[in-house]
Symmetry: C2
Subunit: 137 residues, 2 copies
Amino acid sequence: MSTNDCLSGTIRHLLDAGVRPTRHRLALAELLFDGRERHVSAEMLNVEAREHLVSISLATVYNTLHHFTAAGLLREIVVDSRRGYFDTNTSDHYHFFYEDSLCLVDIPIEALEIMRLPATPAGKTIRRVEVVVRVSG
Amino acid sequence: MSTNDCLSGTIRHLLDAGVRPTRHRLALAELLFDGRERHVSAEMLNVEAREHLVSISLATVYNTLHHFTAAGLLREIVVDSRRGYFDTNTSDHYHFFYEDSLCLVDIPIEALEIMRLPATPAGKTIRRVEVVVRVSG
DNA sequence: GCGATTTTTAGAATCATTCTAAAGGGTGTT
DNA sequence: AACACCCTTTAGAATGATTCTAAAAATCGC
């Protein structure tokens, strides 16, 4: 058994989620999980990685985003029928989508209250209730 | 002045929306506005047109869907970050999205009640509040 | 029917994403 | 350290949806 308690927070974060902390995953995780609420597309993260002098292929960015999502570290949000966005906030919440700047901002769950839900279709399970408030101007 | 009162319902529908009722637009409108609630992608509508022996190019299907949307005859729904869907129901309402079959079903506005909305960001206007209930199984 | 304006078209171009197959890296065992 | 095994990364090709382009065709008002 190795001394597990002196690992960097990011490595721990990945290990806890069952993701092998490879060099590239670590670099992307450092960028993603910096404490801010972040909503990134693959292309955005790729650019950011290059800006931070991390040499990485776009395919790896896609792989990693999908791995992180499968491991519960990220959550995919659908607001645009062209691009996929990933959210570092994996808890239940909603979004503002700024149509002009294509930016996303979290709406905390308690800021929006849904009183009534329609009956779930027979034999189905609700996976998620997504709310997107589209704003512009 | 022509005798306007003996036009087909579909032609009237297009004229009322300020859309020139060309042959192709009419054919697509006949398919779309048949009374059912419909949620189509460009590819789906293109296949359907061919099945009905309407010879049309995919580019025209895209043009027409966008024209109809701009004219208020359709509404675009975002549920999938790959494909765009268009809804023949342009009134305020929400959606079930069946993740397995990629099907959409309307949720009437009164079946879901949103009690509290967060404050609108300064200087912005709410364009729409979208609710998608994702189900599977 | 004429001419001006819009539509339609096929195909090329674009953009995001996934796939492929090969090279590289990580981990545990000896 | 060397080995073997398995997982990751990669560049580039492939895919799929959508948009663009430029030319041909249809439409409309006169």
